[in-house]
């Protein structure tokens, strides 16, 4: 590339890049050059920037925030020191006046001339002012620069009424600004609706109502014919195309923008018939040494992009091309989501439904100003949409454009309570969504695999905390057969029915009679064994199996937690949670827990369920610890089981000045009634004594909140990885009604839920959802209620404390040894080190064989 000697401060021997325009895109281009080492400071290029405005680049998108207190400095996009650090020659307030392509020079208004090797035009756009009489009267403004805003602000001090011509994006922003300046504000839009580019008629109508409710006057479908001025030359009104007129002291034109291509036209560059400097995919104009980027360019796809994101993409592409690499800009997504005057407005894809044969699915509620439209292709593909008033779904819907929706589109636009909205499951997430946050694995990476073991092996997803396993399972291809595992072709609820109706009491019988052909006679697997164990335990009193989960063959079905009646921790030790019903405990019992913990050196921590967890017990210590606890009146808390954990409570009417019922007593009664109940997953509950909800009952599987008339029962709540507030099942229940309804609810859940399916996911999955469950358990639509109640009565009558049974039976105690051949040897790998006056696992001794350390001896130096 030939190098001419620059007329000013020389950076001799390197090419000169002249940038015309220092707006958002111009600044982004400078940053992209700097990122690629193309700066004077690096000695690789001389960069001259000609900027028309009196200040360097600022955030024009946030222009209106000037009126909410942002200073022009706040809006600046140029990091302090950026220009100096990179040796950029920035000429503020000195726009380019002409280009001589023959001589390859640019002359600025100051008269100075700059030679260029590469010229980049980033001149942006100018506001279009319709050619109406009076448009230049005093009091007429445009809305584009900080200077425009300063002028409007000054003039508004003497004005009472303002009118904005144009009801598009910027027009509404300008209207908001005028309103904020205390003016009675009118919006005049020629199109029949607001934001005609982004939204359709319905969206415009929703927007209109909301904006009128804010006190703005909107006139759609009318044009401005004339701006009238008084004798002093100041604006005093407008006449409109429908013959009406409007009194106003100030007019802001915001009727769209046009590419600023005059400089290019003057020097003979090709421009489009409707404006815009024609560029190719590299953003090169008809002169290969001249590029155009941003709103002044007519991109290779035939569009002028008025959004900043495509402008940035062009800036990056040109910087890349100048750096000698391949890059292109071939078009951009016009999707937008913004908050306009406090209203969410989003549009994406084919928002106007221009594709042939496409259909609209629309929900509109003009009272609340919500409007949602999805454009669906003939084959069911989502083509685009408009969301006004509530654009929460934009994040999931936009990435799904071009795909067939996983659910009926109407379910996505209807409000809650009207059959929707369906919260799209993980299948609706974009590929870049992170599913396993422990190992930072995206949906796309997971979906490259077909089985869970493969996912774990190749991506490590699901091998951290495991909370994503459910979602991963949903992402993987669903096998045709919905069977529980490789051993059973039946679901858990089907197996429940088989066990219940046939009275099967052992896993082996079930596997051999109802397992898959290949699995019969085998050993089952780690999925179905605990599941069937749980089903048999749930039904034990009814089918005549032993209620003790460790009897006979049942012992071999239980996960280690159930097997040792304690919770396995990371170093192989166990934790112990005695039941403290309702969280109520006497000082004597508290002292016992403290003494036991002290005597066995256990780490103690208060749980979220108002109990006390004792950590760090070896297997062989469990019976000794429990002997002390049982003697003091404690029983198993079932923290290890898929069963009822705790019924948390607030202190209730007895002590609290707000309480309206005895929440503690109810919590204790419920906890004692449902203790030991084996279920598809753990069950949590809470009882609050008044609507203040201090027990957080709505985060529980079944939560009870006291009312002056009785109790409200909420079901399906959850905390954890996928929080969900419980839904109201029934209200103002008496004590007896409440218990009966919970009996039915729990038994119906146990009967129909999948393995490891909490009530929250069960409610969302089960056909008919909450309404169906209410029909069954409240209105007895299936005629099941008597049986459900009887099953629960069997459970309550059959309950025995597992720990009391264990410590009183030498045969059962035999399993509580670390080593079968050395019952008196404690596990040498379970050791502890001190932390904060207690203990924690010593993980160093688990770290594995120590590798031999190679020394330098014998090596030549």
């Amino acid at each position: 590339m030939p190098v001419s000697t620059p007329p000013t401060a020389p950076t001799a021997g390197v090419p000169t890049i002249v940038v015309v325009g220092h707006g958002m895109v111009g600044q982004r281009f400078l940053e992209a050059l700097a990122d690629r080492g193309l700066t004077a400071a690096q000695g690789t290029a001389r960069i001259v920037v000609l900027c028309e405005e009196p200040r360097p680049a600022y955030d024009r998108v946030q222009l209106t925030s000037y009126f909410s207190g942002k200073t022009p400095e706040d809006l600046s996009l140029v990091e302090p020191g950026f220009i100096e650090r990179h040796g950029i020659e920035l000429r503020v307030g000195d726009p380019a006046e002409s280009v001589d392509r023959e001589a390859r020079t640019v002359t600025a208004r100051s008269g100075e001339t700059f030679s260029y090797d590469t010229l980049v035009l980033a001149t942006g756009s100018y506001p279009f002012v319709p050619p109406v009489p009076g448009k230049d009267a005093e009091g007429c403004f445009v809305y584009r620069t900080i200077e425009d805003l300063l002028a409007i602000e000054e003039y508004a001090k003497t004005a009472k009424t303002g009118a904005v011509v144009g009801g598009g994006l910027l027009g509404l922003e300008a209207a908001g600004a005028l309103k904020g300046l205390g003016l009675d504000t009118h919006v005049v839009e020629f199109a029949p609706r607001l934001m005609p580019v982004q939204v359709d008629d319905g969206g415009g109508a929703a927007l209109l109502r909301t904006i009128e409710n804010m006190g703005l006057s909107v006139h759609t479908g009318v044009g401005t014919q004339e701006v009238t001025a008084g004798e002093d030359g100041r604006v005093d009104g407008m006449s409109l195309s429908d013959g009406s007129s409007l009194e106003t002291d100030l007019v802001v034109f915001s009727a769209g923008v046009r590419p600023r291509d005059q400089l290019a036209r003057d020097c003979g560059l090709a421009v489009g018939p409707r404006g815009g400097i024609i560029v190719d995919e590299e953003c090169r104009t008809s002169d290969s040494d001249v590029f155009a980027i941003g709103e002044c360019a007519l991109a290779s796809d035939g569009r002028v992009y008025g959004l900043v994101a495509p402008g940035y993409e062009m800036a990056l592409a040109v910087a890349e091309v100048i750096a000698g690499n391949a890059a292109s800009f071939t078009g951009a997504d016009l999707s937008t989501k913004l908050k306009l005057l406090g209203v969410d407005v989003a549009s994406f894809g084919d928002a106007h439904g221009t594709a042939e044969g496409c259909l609209d699915v629309v929900y509109a509620d003009s009272r609340s100003g919500v409007y949602k439209k999805l454009v669906i292709g003939q084959d069911g593909t989502l083509l685009g949409g408009v969301l006004v008033g509530d654009a929460d779904q934009y994040g999931t819907l936009r990435p799904m454009t071009g795909t067939v929706l996983p659910v009926a589109p109407e379910q996505l636009v209807l409000p809650a309570g009207a059959g929707g909205p369906v919260t799209l499951g993980p299948s609706s997430l974009p590929d870049e969504a992170v599913i396993c946050s422990c190992h930072n694995v995206t949906k796309g990476a997971i979906c490259e695999h077909t089985t869970l073991p493969e996912v774990k092996k190749c991506t490590k997803a699901g091998t951290g905390c495991g909370s994503c396993l459910k979602v991963i399972g949903q992402l993987l291809p669903q096998p045709e057969d919905q069977g529980l595992c490789g051993c059973f072709a039946y679901t858990r609820s089907e197996l429940y029915e088989i066990v219940r109706t046939l009275g099967i009491t052992t896993y082996a019988d079930l596997l051999d009679s109802h397992g898959r052909e290949a699995a019969r006679g085998g050993d089952g697997c780690e999925v179905c064994k605990p599941t069937v164990g749980s089903v048999i335990a749930s039904l034990a009193p009814t089918v005549g199996a032993s209620g003790y989960v460790l009897d006979g063959e049942q012992a071999a079905l239980q996960d280690t937690n159930d097997h040792f009646l304690a919770n396995l921790q990371r170093n192989g030790s166990y934790s112990i949670v005695p039941r403290i019903p309702g969280g109520e405990i006497t000082p004597e019992k508290l002292i016992v827990i403290g003494e036991v913990a002290r005597d066995f050196g256990l780490y103690t921590k208060i749980t979220g369920g108002q109990r006390i967890d004792l950590f760090g017990a070896r297997v062989d210590q469990l019976p000794l610890i429990w002997t002390r606890l049982v003697d003091a009146g404690f029983e198993s808390g079932h923290a290890y089981g898929k069963s009822l954990r705790t019924v948390k409570s607030c202190v209730g009417q007895t002590w609290c000045r707000y309480g309206v019922q005895d929440s503690v007593k109810m919590a204790i009664d419920l906890e004692l009634r449902y203790r030991g109940l084996r279920s598809p997953h753990k069950l949590k509950s809470a009882v609050s004594g008044c609507a203040r909800e201090c027990a957080e009952a709505r985060g529980k599987d079944f939560g009870i909140i006291a009312t002056a008339q009785g109790w409200n029962l909420y079901v399906g709540g959850n905390g954890g990885a996928t929080p969900r507030h419980a839904d109201l099942l029934a209200q103002d229940l008496s004590d007896a009604e409440l218990v009966r309804l919970i009996d039915r609810f729990l038994m119906f859940y146990i009967r129909t839920a999948d393995r490891l399916e909490r009530t929250s996911t069960w409610l969302d999955r089960i056909e008919g959802g909450l309404d169906h469950v209410r029909d069954v358990v409240v209105h007895d639509s299936l005629g099941l209620c008597d049986e459900l109640e009887r099953l629960m009565a069997d459970h309550v009558a059959g309950y025995r404390d597992e720990w009391a049974e264990t410590i009183n039976d030498p045969e059962r105690l035999r399993r509580f040894v670390t080593f079968v051949n050395a019952p008196d040897s404690p596990d040498p790998s379970v050791k502890f080190v001190p932390e904060r006056d207690q203990v924690k696992p010593d993980l160093d001794i688990l770290a594995g064989p120590v590798l031999a350390i190679r020394t330098l001896e014998g090596t030549s130096s």
């Binding site: 780690e526 396995l568 080593f819 050395a822 688990l846």
Partner: protein, 119 residues
């Protein structure tokens, strides 16, 4: 284990691990529940996880779960997949082939196996 009659009424076979040229008796066969494991301590301090499957076959692998370092494999659940027995770690559920020690969920991981017999 209190009276002679009980002793004879029970399965009196033992589980034995290879020990040099001979066999080391570890425990009575009836101490193992089919489908579950127990841990045994070897004279050299190593820990072995012993299992018996439903058909009565015995298996022995190292008790250390290589994914967590904890000595817990004996507390996992036994299953079979395509006719091959495995144990699933009770901590993070990775499965190990009881005959080869190979991890079924990670090709790079294997646990030692021990020759074992139930005579």
């Amino acid at each position: 284990m209190t009276t002679q009659t009980m002793e004879t009424a029970r399965d009196t076979r033992t589980i034995q691990l290879a020990d040099g040229d001979g066999w080391l008796t570890v425990c009575d066969r009836e101490l193992l529940t089919p489908g579950r494991g127990v841990a045994a301590l070897l004279p050299d301090g190593r820990q072995v996880a012993l299992f018996v499957d439903r058909a009565g076959r015995a298996y022995a692998i190292d008790n250390r779960d290589p994914f967590t370092g904890a000595y817990v494999l004996s507390r996992g659940l036994v299953g079979s997949a395509e006719g091959r027995p495995f144990v699933a770690s009770p901590l993070l559920k990775q499965r190990f082939d009881l005959e080869t020690g190979a991890c079924l969920d990670d090709d790079d991981v294997t646990v030692p196996v021990f020759p074992v017999r139930a005579d």
